[in-house]
Structure formats: C-alpha cells, structure tokens
Amino acid sequence: MKGISRRKFLKGAAILSGAAAFNVSPAFLKYGLGEQPIKWGSLHPLTGGLAEMAADQKLAVEIAIEDINAAGGVMGRPVVGVFRDTEFSGEVARRKAVELMEKEKIDLLAGALSGPEELALNDLAKKNNIFYGCYTQYMVDSKDTFHKYTFTANVTPFQSAAAGAIWAAENIKGKRWHLLADNYSWPKMFVPVYERIAKQRGADWTGVTWAPFPSTDYSSYIPKVQAVKPDVLFCVCWGSGHINLIKQLQEFGVAKDIKVLFAVSDLPWAVAAGPGKFSDIHAGMLWFWGLEKKYPATKEFNKKFFAKQKRYSAAYGCASYELTRMTLDTAKEIKSLDHAKLSKALEGHKFKYLKGETWVRPCDHDYIGEFFIVKGKPANKMANNFDHYDLVYSVSGEDAAMPCGEKGL
C-alpha cells in the first residue's frame, strides 16, 4: 500500500461504506421520510413456452407503474415493481410469491399467465388473507376457489365462450355449431357455455372434436370436422397449437366454407402464423392494439410499448396494465393499502383505461368490460406486420357474464 496515505485510505473507506450502507439501508433512508416506495410484487412465466406473452405482461406492468409515478405515485410514494419468474410452474410461483412476501416485503401481490400459476397464487393469497391481482383468465370464481381479495382485469372462460356464441347467434345465419379443441381442462370449460347458449338461441349443437394436447398437426381432425358440416366452428387452443391450427385451417380452406371463431386469440400467434394466415377467420379478444383508432389511451400505451419492444402488446399486456392501474389508483383514491379496504373499494368501482368503461362485479369479482370479435385480413390488406385484424363486433361484459346467483357465492 505504498503511495496511499492513511488519510486517503480512510476517506476512501468511508465513501465505500456509505455507498454500501445506502444500498442496504431501509428504504426510508434511501428515499427520505414519507417516500418509502410501494412494492408491487409481480410474477410472470418469463421462461418457458409463453415467455413472450409474459414479457408483454411485465412491460405493461412497468408502463402502468411509470404512469402512476408520473401522476405523483400513491399517497406521495413512488411505486416499484418487484418481478419474479414463475418458470411456468404453479409450485415455483407459490415459492417465489412467499419469497416476495417474506424477503422483499411487498405491499401487493399480482401475477400469473397460466391456470396452475393462478390457482397456486390464489390459494396462497386465500390462506394468508391477502390481496392477489390475477393477470390471466379468471378461473377462481367458483364457490371452492373464490377469495374476497382476488381481483382481475381479465375475463372468465365463460365470458370468452359466451361472447363468441352471442356473436355467432346474432351474425351468422347457419345454426349448426361445432367445437374443435385441445383435450385438457381449460377448453373443457367452454363446452357447457356453448351448449347453453346454443339451446337459448336455437342453435344446433353438434358436439366437440377433441385433439390431443399438445398437438402440432390438427389436419387429422379437420376432415372429421368437415364431415359434421357445421356453419360455425369454434376453436379453443393455446400457444403453438393455436398457430398450427390457424395454418392448417387455411391450408385446407376451411374458413371458405365454415365461419371459424377462435374463442380466445392474441396477436403474437397471428404474427407467428404469418401474413394473411388469419384471413377470413374470426377471433375473440380481450383487447388488441388496433383499438387505438377508438381509444386514445390505447394509442398512448401502444406508443410506449412499441418504443421498447418494437412490436405491439399481446392482450394479456392490456390485462396486466389495467389490473395494476385500477388497484393502485384505487389505493391512491382511498389513501390506503389495507387489503380489506382496498378490496371493498374495488368492488363495483368503474374504470376506464385502455378501452371503454370497465368495472368489477361485487358478487364474484368478474371483470365486466367489452369483449371484441375481430376478423382476419388477407395479406394484401395488411398495413404492417401486426395489422392482422379488423374489429367487427363487440359484446358487452354484462351480456357475456354468468349470472351471479348461479355461482352460489
């Protein structure tokens, strides 16, 4: 240590210690008294088959937090997102949520893209009597799973199915309905809804063609579907199966003779299928970027998202943005992060973010908002790589929701 004086060494050590202390110090020392950040714990499957959608969710949450902080934060405090990767596993989601609660001391918990993650986090929240914000399709609104502090800005499988069935009943002359779906639990939730609405609306329900899950090739099932001669073919599948089915339906010219509706679809799959592959096919969507023509707030969101990702967000990005905003804006309004008070305030509260007015139904916490039906464009009508659809119909949230009394809640 020749050449360094004792004075210089002590000075340097003090600076280093101060910097280290600053980093490990309690937040109020970092931010100043009264500015301790609010920690929004957010879990997404950032690795695994749905990683791109999860990345959209995460970025949408970050944009929501930026927007909230730009408006002064919550109770004068900035919001900070604390993110974890669920690795597309319910068990990992639970473990990391516990870590967020115990080590990071988050104020609010949110997350999930898949059913197992949602079930695990909802169960954890229920056992600990804490708030849980669900980003994905809301499937915990039954008597056994309902938790008074769980909220969502996404629809239920019932709403997705009902919206598509209502569109078919009101717009398609032919009344023979059929379903082609992957054979696992989520698509199975759609069947009783189609049966119910077919009965209510005088449609002829011809049944289901089940394909193994996961499937790369649906071509073996297409002749079976064509043999039924449906007027409307509902399709329920996810991820790579969705992309495969879009390509193969086009290849076999199914959409020329039959009205095809994917009950739930999203932009990344249309992009992956290729330009024009969605042509003449319909899909139900919670949201898509093209709504910017109707809603200025969507245009703002699209700008921010595109600036960072060079593409538009999946619909699940919208759900994550809206859930984050509605929760934290409500906390700001009532000046409290108490989970019971927050939950009470969210019930029945009306919001307007990336689409028309939405609200949370008090009886079951169903998210009530427009659900959109889009129609695919041919390749020569697409303005850019993302311009796959036109908006052709929308179903109101109330019309598509299961009546409260039926759930026994």
Binding site: G49, F213, S219, S240
Partner: protein, 309 residues
C-alpha cells in the same frame, strides 16, 4: 360381441373420402418422421450415440430456413442452404464435443448427456436471437393451393411435395449407401466399426460426416414443415419423442426399419382419431404400439441382435 359389431358398424359408416384423406395425411406425417428417423438411426447405428438433440437440429433447420428465406426471398434456396448449414453445425459439434468422449469410459452416457444438454441450449439460443413466440413461413406460390381432389378429399400441393421430397431422399440415401464408397464404409461401420478402423479407414472422419448428414436430414424436415406447422423454439419437443418411437419400433440402426416404422406410426397417428370409442387413446396409442413391439420383438421390427444392447 355386440360391442364389436357396433364398432365395425360405425367404422363402415365413415365415408370413403374421410378414409382417403386420413391415409393421405398419415403419409404426410410418416414422411416427416422418415426424415427425422433416418438421421437418428444412422447416427445411432454407426456411432452408438443416442442423439437427444435431434429435435433441436430439426428446429435449427426451420429457423435457418426462415432466415435464408427472409434474406433471399426464395424458399428453394432455403431448402438447400438450411440443411447444409445445420449439417456443418452438427459436424462441428461432433468434432468439438462428442469426439472428446469416445475413448472415455461410459462414453455412451457422456454422449447422451452432451446431446441432452444441447437440447436445452438450442431453444434458448433461438429465443435469444429470434424471439420467443414463433416465426412466420410463407408457402411458396408454386406449391400453394390444391393439386387435385379425389372424392371430396383435397390433396394440397405442398403436402404432396413434402411426401415426394421424403421419398426422393429415401432414394438418394439408398444410392448413397449402396452405390458409393462412403455408403459402403457407413454400412460396414454400422456392422463393425472396429473392423473398419483396423482396415486403415479413418472411421472418425466418417463419424463426423455421418453426424453432419443425420443432422442435415433433421434440418431438412424442419424447413419442409415450416409452412404447415408452427416454427418456434419448442417445435422439436414432441416430434423427437415420436422419432425415437419410430426408431425403436423399426429397430435401432436399421434404415429400412426406420422407413417402414415411420410410415406405420404416421398412419396410426392419423387413423386413430377416426376409430369409434378409441379416440381418447389417440394421445397414447404410439406408446402402446412401441410397448407391444418391444414385448414381442425387443430388437424392433428390422433390428439386428446385439445392436443397441
């Protein structure tokens, strides 16, 4: 007895064009499996390596095909370039990784571990460079649409092309193996690689070329399925399982076994959804078939005794 009569009765009700369509689609599935299984069985037969990364090379071929298509706008160039590039990559991996473990104890297991590791690495590399969801392929205009129809079954140009490509490859492979010196060495190596070495032939170079050839075949399958299947990082996961089943049913190291077995499995996968009361077994029927073949004939339909033990 009544159930059997009812079963056959319902089978008879299925229209003829549905059967025709399913058999045709089964031939398409079988053709893809032929390309994958040929590569897998050549590599195993000559080198004794169970290539768990075969699905990754299939996926790599699809991605390199997409990239070539994007750069050149020409599907035919992609069909040639992507397998060549993937074959070179495969040869490089054999030279730099697999060759290091041949003389070690437990080389078989080390080879498995290396290829298993590659099967995880490959998709993540593709996600990093190409994104996580998938890449769009466009069917070449020449092959778009229906070629002809028989009894209301539409035979798409592209799928007929796929079948034709697979059978052309079988012919080329037969010519390579039967009519060339390299083929002679490969066949001799499959039979007894030690003897080939003793005769002064540098068997390791043959291994490198064979591994490259096997991975090139997988890549070709990847490019061919691009217009009809989703091209994404996990596209190799399911088909590699089916390919292994084909190779096991056909017999490890047997080329004719790989071809016949691929055609059988392709038909089973496509016809089972038609069968009354048996559709639920469509998910698992090929595993049941493999189990049955192993019980009845453990070395596979065309396998030789001692190979793979």
């Amino acid at each position: 007895m009544e159930a059997i009569i009812e079963f056959f009765g319902r089978l008879a009700e299925i229209p003829a064009n549905t059967w025709i369509t399913q058999v045709y689609l089964g031939l398409v599935n079988g053709s893809v499996l032929i390309l994958l299984a040929l590569g897998l069985t050549i590599i195993f037969g000559l080198m004794g390596i169970v290539n768990f990364a075969h699905g990754t090379f299939y996926m790599t071929g699809a991605y390199l095909g997409w990239l070539t298509l994007r750069l050149t706008g020409n599907f035919w160039i992609a069909l040639i370039v992507a397998p060549i590039l993937t074959g070179l990559l495969g040869a490089g991996i054999e030279l730099t990784m697999l060759r290091r473990v041949y003389n070690k104890r437990e080389s078989v297991y080390l080879g498995i571990l290396i290829t298993f590791g590659l099967s995880f690495l490959g998709p993540d590399v593709m996600r990093f460079f190409f994104g996580k969801t998938g890449l769009p392929y466009v069917t070449p205009a020449l092959l778009d649409g229906t070629a002809f129809s028989i009894a209301a079954t539409n035979f798409s140009r592209y799928r007929l092309f796929l079948i034709g490509s697979a059978f052309s490859l079988i012919l080329l492979m037969w010519l390579l193996l039967k009519k060339t010196n390299l083929g002679l060495i490969i066949r001799a190596g499959i039979s007894n690689s030690r003897m080939v070495e003793v005769l002064g032939i540098e068997i390791r170079n043959v291994w490198t070329a064979t591994f490259g050839l096997g991975t090139a075949l997988a890549a070709l399958a990847g490019v061919l399925v691009g217009p009809i299947f989703a091209v994404q990082p996990t596209m190799g996961d399911m088909i590699i399982i089916q390919s292994f089943i084909v190779v096991i049913i056909g017999g490890l190291g047997s080329l004719i076994g790989a071809v016949i077995s691929a055609l059988i499995v392709g038909q089973v996968l496509t016809l089972f959804p038609l069968l009354p009361h048996l559709q639920q077994l469509a998910d698992v029927v090929i595993y049941l078939l493999m189990a049955f073949v192993l019980l009845v004939r453990p070395r596979g339909l065309f396998g030789e005794e001692g190979v793979g033990e």
